[in-house]
């Protein structure tokens, strides 16, 4: 199980690296799709079908929109010059990456083994959730009953995003 997930995560890293370095933007977008669809398989392997359904649907719609945009505009990437400032930025990114790696290494030493044990808060959600919410699907019970504020916030974020897109893209005013 852990070996399978490790292999899939390796594929995701390869796809992401190819997406950065591809000369053709269309192939970069499709290589970015590798990351999303591999994540779907990971979600199915760790038994999270709710997340898998959402991820596969969102990934498909995003890929369709990105491909439609790329086909209608340019397919070649505009490369900038690689001067001293670029070297400084790359060096700073590398230092921050090493610090983060060291911190995550220390943090993961104090966690439980992968797939074992639950957090204290999730025990309160799992025990007797069907009686409290009346919903057989525990995920729906959590996101709409225990964590209703979160879902309201997510819905509001989506509305705000649409408002921003309409504000930026509207050229002529509506009569």
């Amino acid at each position: 199980m852990e070996l399978t997930i490790s292999v899939i995560v390796g594929f995701m890293i390869l796809g992401a690296i190819y997406a950065i370095h591809a000369r053709d933007i269309l192939s970069a977008v499709i290589a970015g799709g590798i990351v999303g669809y591999s994540l779907v398989i990971c979600f199915l392997l760790i038994k999270a079908p709710d997340l898998a359904i959402v991820q596969i649907v969102v990934e498909t719609i995003t890929l369709i929109i990105m491909i439609a945009v790329v086909l209608d505009s340019s397919r070649t990437e505009a490369y900038g010059r690689f001067d001293g400032q670029a070297y400084a930025t790359a060096g700073a990114a590398l230092v921050i990456l090493l610090i983060l790696f060291w911190l995550f290494r220390h943090a993961s030493a104090s966690l439980d083994h992968f797939g074992e044990g639950t957090l204290r808060m999730s025990d309160a959600y799992i025990n007797g959730a069907v009686e409290k919410t009346g919903s057989v699907n525990l995920v729906t019970g959590v996101i709409f009953d225990f964590r209703g504020y979160d879902t309201l916030g997510e819905a509001t974020v989506l509305v705000t995003a649409v408002l921003g897109v309409l504000t930026i893209l509207r050229i002529r005013g509506r009569k």
Binding site: V57, T140, G148
Partner: protein
């Protein structure tokens, strides 16, 4: 945007309705099976996006469709907020109180407010994704004009 060939159009005619029905099924059974408002809403928007991509924008009056979808999007969030606020009135002064009778767990009509929340979020997500897609297409048409 130009439409595609006759093969794509006929296949889209056959499939789009079924995709729409599947989205409604995912939304309505959100409290019983995996899925829910977010996944079902995006599937609903996907059936519309499929139709628009296959037939092109000559057949559809896009601006009117966009104003409709923005209205439904805002309506979805407002009804969601209103249903949550009713908990303040009837559910012992608790925001998001699930004060409707819960019924038998496992049946289609059960779990009080959760199916209603699912329907609101489903309508809102579908209208949002469709609004963004239509805004991109309308932007390109306006540029070309």
């Amino acid at each position: 945007m130009k439409g595609m060939t006759i093969i794509v159009k006929k296949t889209t005619q056959l499939i789009a309705g079924m995709i729409f029905l599947y989205g409604i099924y995912i939304i309505l059974h959100g409290h019983l099976t995996p899925g829910g408002g977010f996944a079902g809403g995006i599937i609903l928007a996907g059936s519309f996006i499929l139709l628009i991509l296959a037939y092109g924008s000559d057949f559809l009056i896009l601006v009117r469709k966009e104003s409709g979808s923005t209205i439904y999007e805002n309506l979805g969030v407002l009804v969601f907020l209103f249903l949550a606020l009713t908990g303040l009135l009837f559910g012992g002064r608790i925001f998001f109180a699930n004060w409707l009778p819960h019924g038998t767990p496992g049946e289609l009509i059960s779990a009080g407010f959760l199916p209603l929340y699912n329907i609101c979020v489903g309508i809102e997500v579908a209208a949002s994704i469709l609004s963004i897609f239509l805004a991109l297409i309308i932007f390109k048409e306006e540029i070309l004009k």
